[in-house]
């Protein structure tokens, strides 16, 4: 009998939890599990049609600059000219959009980095200025963290960031972040 396919975290087999005892964590690292992810690429000359479809299906204005827009379960993260990463905490249907849509739910891992020292921790790995003056809520950057390509966005005005990374790099990036947070009382845990 064939083994049923089960979605598994890219991290579970590779990382041990790091929990700082009895002190307030400076930075908290978690995996955003159970997300639906898809890359959405506008078809040649059909950008306006895609923007209309996203507006009517999700009530969102597709950003054309490095921004993230979110409403309810769904969000669209700018990923380059004419490209977006669509995310949903539910089971959103991105496949019906008039665009090149490729499911990435098992292809990328999304990490959440938050807490008062989150920016300081990320700054040890990322050269982009993450000060709220330069990188506000909803801002997006495509860059690298310790030479690993990352898709980074600021979730809100609090120090809360999310990073999407190719699945096979997730464990390495996790270890880099744990190392960077070691002197900042990091609390890094996989749920469940």
């Amino acid at each position: 009998m064939p083994e049923p396919l089960v979605a598994r975290s890219a991290l579970r087999a590779h990382v041990a939890p790091v929990v700082t005892a009895s002190v307030e964590p400076g930075v908290t690292l978690r995996e955003r599990s159970g997300l639906t992810l898809a890359t959405v690429s506008a078809l040649g000359g059909r950008d306006a049609e895609l923007a209309d479809a996203v507006r009517s299906a999700f009530g969102l204005e597709l950003p054309t600059t490095p921004k993230r827009v979110a409403a309810g379960e769904a969000a669209f993260v700018w990923a380059g000219p004419g490209k977006w990463l669509a995310t949903s905490t539910g089971a959103a249907d991105f496949a019906s959009l008039p665009a090149g849509v490729s499911d990435q739910s098992d292809g990328r891992t999304v990490l959440s980095v938050s807490g008062p020292l989150a920016r300081e921790t990320l700054a040890t790995l990322i050269a982009v200025d993450l000060h709220p003056r330069a990188f506000a809520a909803g801002d997006v950057a495509l860059t690298h963290a310790a030479s690993i390509a990352v898709h980074l966005w600021r979730v809100d005005d609090e120090a809360a960031f999310e990073l999407a990374v190719f699945r096979s790099y997730a464990a390495t990036l996790w270890r880099w972040l744990v190392h960077a947070g070691a002197a900042r009382n990091i609390d890094a845990r996989l749920d469940g």
């Binding site: 490095p66 380059g80 000219p81 982009v128 495509l142 860059t143 690298h144 390509a149």
Partner: protein, 96 residues
């Protein structure tokens, strides 16, 4: 050197990959002197000490192709354009 990507903003050289001379144009393969023209197109490059137009890719960023005009002696960057816009303008006869 820092390159001002028209999409992402100014980023360090570590995010970019150099992809060659942006001034060469693929010759017409059906032309009579195509063989000579292709030898020049594939192998022969000017090596100017000064202003140069180069193709760069924002490889660890938005993955756009860019045409960077810079002085190779001082690394001073004159302009950064979308390679697609440059090619479109050239195809329409606007030239460089």
């Amino acid at each position: 050197m820092r390159i001002a990507c028209p999409h992402c903003g100014t980023r360090g050289l570590d995010e970019f990959a150099y992809l060659g001379d942006a001034t060469v144009v693929r010759p017409d393969p059906s032309a009579e002197n195509a063989e000579t023209a292709f030898v020049e197109y594939v192998y022969l490059r000017d090596n100017p000490a000064g202003r140069h137009r180069e193709l760069w890719s924002h490889a660890l960023g938005c993955q756009s192709w860019l045409v960077v005009t810079r002085d190779v002696r001082t690394h001073a960057i004159e302009s950064v354009e979308n390679a697609r816009d440059v090619a479109t303008a050239r195809d329409q006869g606007a030239g460089q």
